[in-house]
């Protein structure tokens, strides 16, 4: 095969793929559907509450969505690598409670409290990862076990209730912003934080060797292993990323939601819902960061919508469940159709 000899294209229609370019309306079909859903929801919300469309309002919305967004990006790595991390909600709660207890409202302590939280998040991620990869426990069980351990340990330590207080400067990233700006008034810090996180995640997943290895591990672990990928290293790293994302999410959440004993409750399922909404296939090997952002915003938009219409919180849960199923069905449908 020296030079450019073109061997016969193998007989068979499989390789042809979808004939013809996508023109006109066909282009619409190439936009990941999540953005269309988001757009639709946005329209309904604005119709119901026109003030939502004001820049300040929109930015506040992004601020509220920030924790979920960050968390979902972390979960994306784990899911693309073929696993689940169900411990992130408990980890968020743990971070918030620990920060309050250790910091006790003293702004001077914040820097080392944060450092400690980061270390903590990494350790939890490492533990999740190593137990899953080296001890061969299904991630489902490992991370649910972590969840139990975290919940139990943290409240054991605090004696059953939340003590202490969150320092003001700890709450700044999640709560405050740059004031005095024209048009918008205040730009919540959460917004640039989110932008940075999204950029890092995108770079990491789609443009680094590591990211490609994560996709490979999720899409074909045996082939990846035989191609020299250090599977356990890669998977463990995804859990560490997830743990870190939980720490960042916790700080953001502590900012605008304050201290509470179930700060992070339910977030793990929201994160997974978001990732599924974004079209990641729950077997690994596929998923995009930008679509995940869309998923988080969509979920949050749905909650906002339900709130506007006066639905109580529990029904938000039900709506989330329905959305999860709908997303799953759609993903399955697309997987069957795609060519």
């Amino acid at each position: 095969m020296t030079g450019e000899r073109t061997l016969p294209a193998p007989a068979g229609t499989v390789e042809g793929g979808k004939p013809g370019a996508r023109r006109g309306l066909g282009r619409l079909a190439t936009i990941p559907p999540i953005w269309l859903v988001l757009a639709a929801l946005l329209v309904v919300v604005v119709w119901r509450d026109p003030s939502f469309a004001e820049p300040a309002s929109l930015l506040a919305f992004v601020k509220r969505s920030a924790p979920l967004l960050v968390l979902a990006l972390g979960q994306l790595f784990v899911i693309v690598g073929g696993e689940f991390d169900l411990s992130v909600g408990a980890l968020i709660t743990a971070c918030v409670v620990v920060a309050a207890r250790l910091g006790d409202g003293d702004p001077g302590r914040t820097w080392w409290v944060v450092a400690l939280l980061v270390v903590f998040g990494v350790l939890v991620g490492l533990t999740n990862g190593l137990v899953t990869t080296l001890l061969r426990v299904p991630s489902f069980i490992t991370t649910l076990g972590s969840m139990l351990v975290l919940n139990g340990a943290v409240f054991l330590w605090t004696g059953g209730s939340v003590t202490g207080a969150l320092a003001d400067n700890l709450r700044v990233p999640g709560r405050s912003g740059i004031t005095g700006l024209p048009v918008v008034g205040q730009l919540p810090y959460a917004v640039p934080i989110v932008v940075v996180v999204v950029a890092c995640a995108t770079l990491l997943l789609h443009h680094t060797r590591f990211g490609h290895q994560v996709l490979a591990v999720g899409g074909g672990v045996r082939a990846a292993m035989l191609s020299g990928v250090g599977v356990w290293r890669v998977r463990t790293a995804t859990f560490v990323i997830s743990g870190l994302s939980a720490v960042v999410a916790a700080i953001l959440l502590a900012g605008f939601a304050g201290l509470s004993a179930n700060a992070g409750a339910g977030y793990e399922f929201q994160a997974i819902t978001t990732v599924v909404l974004a079209g990641a296939v729950l077997g690994g090997g596929r998923g995009g960061t930008v679509a995940t952002v869309g998923g988080a915003l969509t979920l949050q938009m749905l909650f906002t919508l339900l709130n506007l219409f006066g639905f109580a919180k529990p029904l938000r849960d039900s709506a989330e469940g329905l959305l999860l199923i709908a997303a799953g069905a759609y993903t399955a449908y697309r997987a069957r159709r795609s060519s």
């Binding site: 007989a11 499989v14 390789e15 042809g16 250090g230």
Partner: protein, 508 residues
């Protein structure tokens, strides 16, 4: 093999589409009782799809099936079975965690009042196996503990238990030794003598000429022609399959004399689960073929060298230096590349684009900056003959030949000095096959040490400077270039050169 006059089955203008891609186009063929009708064609020609339409696995989008003169329509495989059509699939459909009897009688478990009559079930299974004149297989044994040939026997017993009038066999010999192939053919002939109609799909033209009465060639989803086997030559068949003439380079042994460069790879007394004391040397520029039957340890050898299932004892030397290779990463660092036998589960990550697969090893070991490697992709694609546009496509969608090319690109990108090929052209169409052989020769000419495991004699004989034959986990012997099939078979079956060895036919 007297075929009856009226066809027992006719397929008229069968058309099948999958999500916008037409896979079968107006295919018609007839099948008579008492005849063996072979179906041949390149990968993706539509052979298996056609058979699945016949077997009720897929409904046709156009055309009809006529059985005994009456049109039929199958909604599911069950119906096809009820009409006397039994399929033996290419991918064996046995359940590994269930017993032999459970598998054979799946879906038709005999009942006694409310519960399953297990005694009757095992008795029936026993009888069905005995009918096949096979070596006795305990009906209680779990399928996962059977050898491949035994599993095939079970699969055949299962197919026959439906008392079919038409038996469809899709690549039945892919996993069989020549001895087992002979047994299979004997059975087929017996069945055909009793009036069964057999549709036989195969890549192996030698089998077609030995067994079949008529042959139909499919290409690109269309029927090219149907001929009596007596009235066509293998070359003629290949031409119809590919659509153009091909120089037959396969069976030409390499002209070079045996290379005398330094020893690149040496295994000394390698022992493992299926390996007993392997001694092997491969020199720079040498292609060493590894022949042998199933279970002889050929793939185990490759896997041991590559660190997938490392040797328990013994040493591996690369370029004279002893290396501890206990993982694929270590092997890759030792400049070894391994093209595995099963590309879909071991060679490629299917959901990602072909280019990403081609860069997989490079990225995993981080040796070259990715940008440089990406530029090299184009060049590599040209070298293996892969169309550039396919690089961005999802690997799952490529044909077998293209997929194999991507796998080759992956290893070429690592600039390995030792290559291990396990069945390099399995499931690859005729056109790409020649290209792969050419590439292997080029690599050797450039100084790589190459090990080729192959079950196809022309490939093995045509490529190798010398052939090492394995039997029962050990090296049974070594043969020079241009050795004959019979010599290889002798060693592979564990007989010495003085043993009687009329190799059973079956392998082209």
């Amino acid at each position: 093999m007297t075929a009856s006059a009226a066809p027992v089955l006719s397929m008229h203008q069968i058309t099948k589409r999958f999500f916008g891609t037409t896979v079968l186009r107006d295919v018609s063929l007839t099948c008579h009782s008492g005849e063996v009708h072979a179906i041949v064609g390149a990968n993706g020609a539509g052979k298996s799809t056609l058979m699945k339409v016949l077997g009720g696995v897929y409904p046709p989008d156009g055309g009809e099936l006529v059985l005994d003169g009456r049109p039929v329509r199958f909604r599911d495989p069950h119906q096809a079975l009820a009409h006397g059509i039994s399929l033996i699939h290419q991918e064996l459909t046995l359940l590994p965690e269930r017993s032999v009897a459970d598998n054979i009688l799946l879906g038709r478990e005999p009942r006694r009042r409310w519960s399953v009559d297990r005694r009757a079930m095992h008795e029936q299974a026993r009888r069905l196996l005995a009918d096949l004149d096979a070596e006795p297989i305990p009906t209680r044994r779990l399928v996962r503990r059977l050898t491949v040939a035994q599993r095939q026997t079970v699969e055949i017993a299962k197919a026959l238990s439906y008392r079919p009038r038409i038996l469809v066999m899709d690549e039945p010999t892919a996993a069989l030794t020549p001895g087992e192939v002979a047994v299979l053919f004997r059975r087929v002939r017996q069945l055909v003598a009793r009036g069964l109609a057999v549709l036989y799909i195969s890549h192996r033209l030698g089998e077609v000429f030995e067994l079949a009465d008529r042959v139909t060639v499919l290409r690109d989803g269309r029927r090219v022609d149907t001929r009596d086997v007596g009235g066509v030559t293998p070359t003629g068949l290949v031409q119809m399959m590919v659509g153009r003439e091909l120089a037959d380079r396969e069976s030409t042994p390499p002209v070079d004399h045996r290379p005398a460069g330094p020893v690149r790879l040496a295994v000394r007394d390698g022992r493992g689960r299926n390996l007993r004391g392997i001694d092997l040397e491969v020199r720079e520029g040498e292609i060493v073929g590894v022949g042998g039957l199933d279970g002889s340890g050929r793939s185990d050898l490759a896997r041991a060298v590559f660190g997938v299932v490392p040797f328990d004892s013994g040493t591996v030397e690369v370029d004279g230096v002893r290396r501890r290779i206990r993982s694929p990463r270590a092997a890759i660092r030792a400049r070894i590349g391994f093209v595995t036998a099963d590309r879909k589960t071991e060679g490629l990550v299917l959901p990602i684009p072909a280019a990403d697969n081609a860069l997989l090893v490079v990225r995993a070991l981080g040796r070259r900056p990715t940008r440089a490697a990406a530029r090299a992709m184009d060049r590599l694609a040209g070298r293996v003959g892969l169309a550039r546009t396919l690089l961005r496509r999802e690997s799952r969608l490529l044909s077998g030949g293209s997929q194999q090319k991507v796998v080759l690109m992956k290893w070429l990108a690592t600039d390995a000095r030792i290559y291990l090929f396990d069945e390099p052209t399995r499931g690859v169409d005729v056109g790409a096959k020649a290209g792969i052989h050419e590439l292997i020769r080029e690599l050797a000419a450039a100084g790589a040490a190459i090990l080729v495991i192959s079950s196809e004699f022309p490939e093995l004989i045509g490529l190798s400077h010398r052939i090492v034959v394995m039997h029962a986990g050990a090296v049974a012997g070594e043969l020079p270039a241009g050795a004959g099939e019979a010599d290889i078979m002798l060693l592979a079956t564990g007989q010495s050169a003085t043993g009687a060895g009329t190799g059973p036919g079956g392998r082209p």
